[in-house]
Amino acid sequence: MAVTFDDVRHIASLARLSVSEERLPALVGELNAILAHMEALQRVDVSGVPADLAAGMTPMPLRADGGEQLRLAWPREEFAPDMRDGFYLVPRLATHEDVDE
């Protein structure tokens, strides 16, 4: 299963990363070299083995629907000064500066 240039362009788009055309050949080579080592897994018989075993950890029982408040070091207004309708307001995009609210 070799990764192609178009595959990398596609996954870069999914991952919100821009990959330059100059960087593309090296990246395709690196990913294919890494994935070649992953082929060893295809030879393993996993019939009957569940995929959701995680790490066989201790179960995580549900806790009461409540819990502690986040312990903030200073008031929320000092690092997120703007709120509206219960939502934090983040800086506007430069390209949206002239859009009416």
Binding site: A15, H37, M38, A40, D52, L53, R71, W74, Y88, P91
Partner: protein, 433 residues
């Protein structure tokens, strides 16, 4: 006691200092002891940048539970340490703030990703430091720098305030000069935290009491897969010498097999990047740190992330996105999860057969020269003996066992889930040899 920052000179291991830091209590088990914190663990008075441009200068409005617990025990949070960007690396060369250097030999790497923390302890800047583990990022630098490194059981220590890399693997770990110091620090940070749903509600034993456990009560497994033909002969000899001395001291040594261990690197480098590709999606220029303007929202995301992330983080996000994408999920991610279950089962089988702990080399080689490893997969192989414990969730510790050509090497002890007492008992015994 003060952090001796002069000892860090020229090593690029400290990213931020807090020379005015004070303990929050007058007395405690760590009274006035300076502690260094890896840069991906949230602190209030110093930035938490994860070794990345995308979070450069970011100061968290809350601190990690592990940091609060250390301060409540009297510790002084002295500095933040250099690391591979977002904990992705085995050399601390992948830091946006330049490579860290090994105090034993500054031409060599300190290991990674907690290289700055390991080097800070080895150099004598601080006696104790926190690191984080996803595939060996505490134990491997501990081995390279000649200090002790502990990765607790998954769920043993709160991760509240640890910036997520791969959530089914991440744990906070401890680096220290001695096994006893590491047991003391682990005692303080371990235990249930209501702010972390993955922290286990299981009592924390007295780890330092393990020092008194007679070595004759220990059955130690030597897994043959961790001693391959290609292993550095000097490292093999040091490990077998340790096992022989433990046998002489009364321990029972048994050859065992963990047959799926050889598949751990492919499994790890599918699962960890897959989880990272999701966890790191939050760094997009909207809420945290760096924002690079672009022509519209998507362009802003792409410009910010492409400028903010370094080459290794970018490579792993792309790899993780690929193995999770339609058409490849079953072949890569699902398969890796199934093989991970087999690796976990191997540990259960061995520990259910009467083996208390396993002893292995921590790394296949001593510290390598800065710039010597350029191939990504060759770098990944540094985790070959450590990432199995992360995949299976087991606790493990690296203890110095001597030198090879003047460079420190480590011996690794792996224990069953929540079996830190046996792990520390064996570690004390190895340290005493």
């Amino acid at each position: 006691m003060k952090a001796d920052f002069a000892r860090a000179a020229g090593l690029n291991i400290i990213l931020a200092e807090d020379p005015e830091a004070r303990p929050s209590v007058d007395h405690g088990p760590l009274h006035d002891i300076p502690v260094a914190i890896k840069d991906n663990i949230a602190t209030l008075r110093m930035p938490t940048s994860c070794g990345s441009r995308i979070l450069e200068g970011y100061i968290s409005p809350y601190e990690a539970t592990v940091v609060s617990r250390l301060r409540a025990a009297g510790a002084v949070i002295a500095c933040k340490t250099n690391m591979d960007e977002f904990a992705m690396g085995s050399s601390t060369e992948h830091s946006a703030f330049g490579p860290a250097r090994n105090p034993v030999d500054p031409t060599r790497v300190p290991g990674g990703s907690s290289g700055g923390s390991a080097a800070a302890v080895a150099a004598g800047v601080v006696p104790i430091a926190l690191g984080s583990e996803t595939g060996g990022s505490v134990r491997q630098p501990a081995a390279f720098c000649g200090v002790v490194g502990v990765k607790p059981t998954y769920g043993r220590v709160s991760r509240f305030g640890l910036v997520a890399f791969a959530s089914s693997l991440d744990q906070v770990g401890v680096l220290a000069r001695t096994v006893d110091d590491s047991a003391l620090a682990m005692q303080i940070i371990a235990g249930r935290d209501p702010m972390d749903a993955t922290s286990a509600d299981i009592p924390v034993p007295e780890y330092r009491a393990a020092a008194a456990r007679p070595v004759s009560t220990l059955t130690i497994g030597r897994p043959r897969e961790y001693f391959p033909d290609a292993l550095d002969p000097a490292i093999r000899a040091r490990c077998d010498d340790v096992l022989a001395k433990l046998r002489d001291a009364g321990a029972t040594i048994r050859d065992v097999s963990l047959p799926h261990s050889g598949l751990a690197i492919p499994v790890y480098y599918i699962i960890a990047p897959a989880e990272a590709s999701s966890n790191l999606a939050r760094f997009d220029g909207v809420r945290y740190g760096l924002r690079v303007t672009g022509d519209g929202l998507t362009a802003m995301y792409e410009a910010t992330r492409s400028k903010g992330f370094g080459a290794e983080v970018t490579r792993r996000i792309l790899l993780g996105t690929y193995v999770l994408s339609a058409g490849y999920y079953d072949a890569y991610y699902k398969k890796a999860q199934q093989v991970r279950a087999l690796i976990t089962q191997d540990f259960h089988t061995v520990f259910n057969s009467g083996v208390d702990v396993l002893f292995t080399p921590t790394t296949p080689t001593p510290a390598f020269k800065i710039g010597a490893v350029s191939d990504p997969y060759e770098m990944y192989l540094n985790d070959i003996f450590t990432c199995t414990a992360n995949l299976a969730g087991n606790p493990a510790i690296s203890v110095p066992i001597g030198t090879v050509n003047g460079l420190p090497i480590g011996g690794q002890i792996i224990a069953p889930h929540f079996g830190e007492e046996a792990m520390f008992a064996a570690a004390y015994a190895v340290e005493r040899l």
